[in-house]
Amino acid sequence: MTASRSKTGASGFDQLFPGRAEEARVKTGVVELDEMLRGGFMPGDAVMLAGSAGTGKTTLALQYLVNGVKLGEPGIYVTFEELPDQIYRDAKNFGWDLRKMEEQDKFRVICTSPSLMLESGSDSLLDDVLRDIQPRRLVIDSLSHLEMFVKKDDMRMEAYRVIRYLKTRGVSSVLLWESPQISGGSFSVTDVGLSFLVDCIVALKPVEIESSMRKALVILKMRGSDHDKRLREFEITSNGIKIESAFTNYEGIISGSPRKVASEKFMEMFRGASEKQKKA
């Protein structure tokens, strides 16, 4: 039995449930990133936000939640690292009043130990808060902390359990991952096979170009959707993450050895020669 397809390509099943085929995306609220994601993350997806320390993972994750609240989607930020008062303070520097959002029951910062997150039983650590504020978005900062409490072989299974727990409840999650591997020659995001468990991977990476440190963002994977494949430069501004243009004039950025592409080198030489000619 084959499902009939309409002119728009929607199956008979999709036609029974209008809107299913083209579900509204989960907008990050960062306009350029949403463009890169062709509208936003897919609803209910587990997204890995990978990068080394100081690349802006926490800022982007908070921005995603704050913009969600503005769109009427409550959010939860689970941290194993910093105490919430530090997060409230840092968020305020970007103009985000998390305490006010908490008072309105639209946001929660949960601070706990990774070992408690891994406890299995009839009650989960997040049951109460999920019931209280009915979040559409959730961030875990970071999944890498679970590694300290489980054997390497069990890490994938535990991460799978966490992801399934959130997916079952229809929550779109962003899982932060401390990933020193993507800075340098290697291209691996995690060494415990988590890349296969998540639906989307956004990598943040510091790059050294002409003796200055810049930041690059790239979407490495997005299940079931087209996405921008280019490396885009971004900055952390007083309003949060701002994505700039693509690094079109450079190659080898991911491998850690950026160099100008041949055509750009040629153009530079050409410009230099014509300027000399003008002076002469």
């Binding site: 105490l83 919430p84 008062d85 908490e102 929660r108 910062v109 949960i110 601070c111 706990t112 130990s113 070992s115 408690l116 406890e119 299995s120 039983g121 009650d123 989960s124 650590l125 109460d128 808060v129």
Partner: protein, 98 residues
């Protein structure tokens, strides 16, 4: 429980004060008593009786997660208790007389 009783329960010891500050600054904290003790720089034995008092007062709540008992702030009860303390303080004059 009157506002003055709540206030004297909350400020009964230095450790209790530390625990209150920890949970008010970090209202989303969920941890074991061991974890709470570490976060205020003390031992479990040093904090256990104060945690128990705050549980009895209703400011903290307890829950079993797998094999661990965790404590967390009951935000609604906390607001209620602080309101009663605030109302009590409004009636107190400097010098201690009402």
């Amino acid at each position: 429980m009157s506002g003055s009783e709540v206030l004297s329960t909350l400020l009964a010891s230095e450790v209790r004060g530390d625990i209150l500050v920890l949970f008010h600054r970090n209202p989303g904290l969920i941890d074991t008593v061991d974890g709470v003790a570490r976060r205020v720089g003390r031992t479990t034995i040093a904090v256990i009786s104060d945690v128990r008092e705050l549980l009895q007062l209703g400011m903290l709540r307890q829950k079993r997660i797998g094999s661990s008992e965790v404590v967390y702030l009951d935000r609604a009860k906390d607001r209620e208790l602080l309101e009663s303390v605030g109302n009590h303080l409004k009636t107190v004059r400097i010098g201690g007389e009402k």
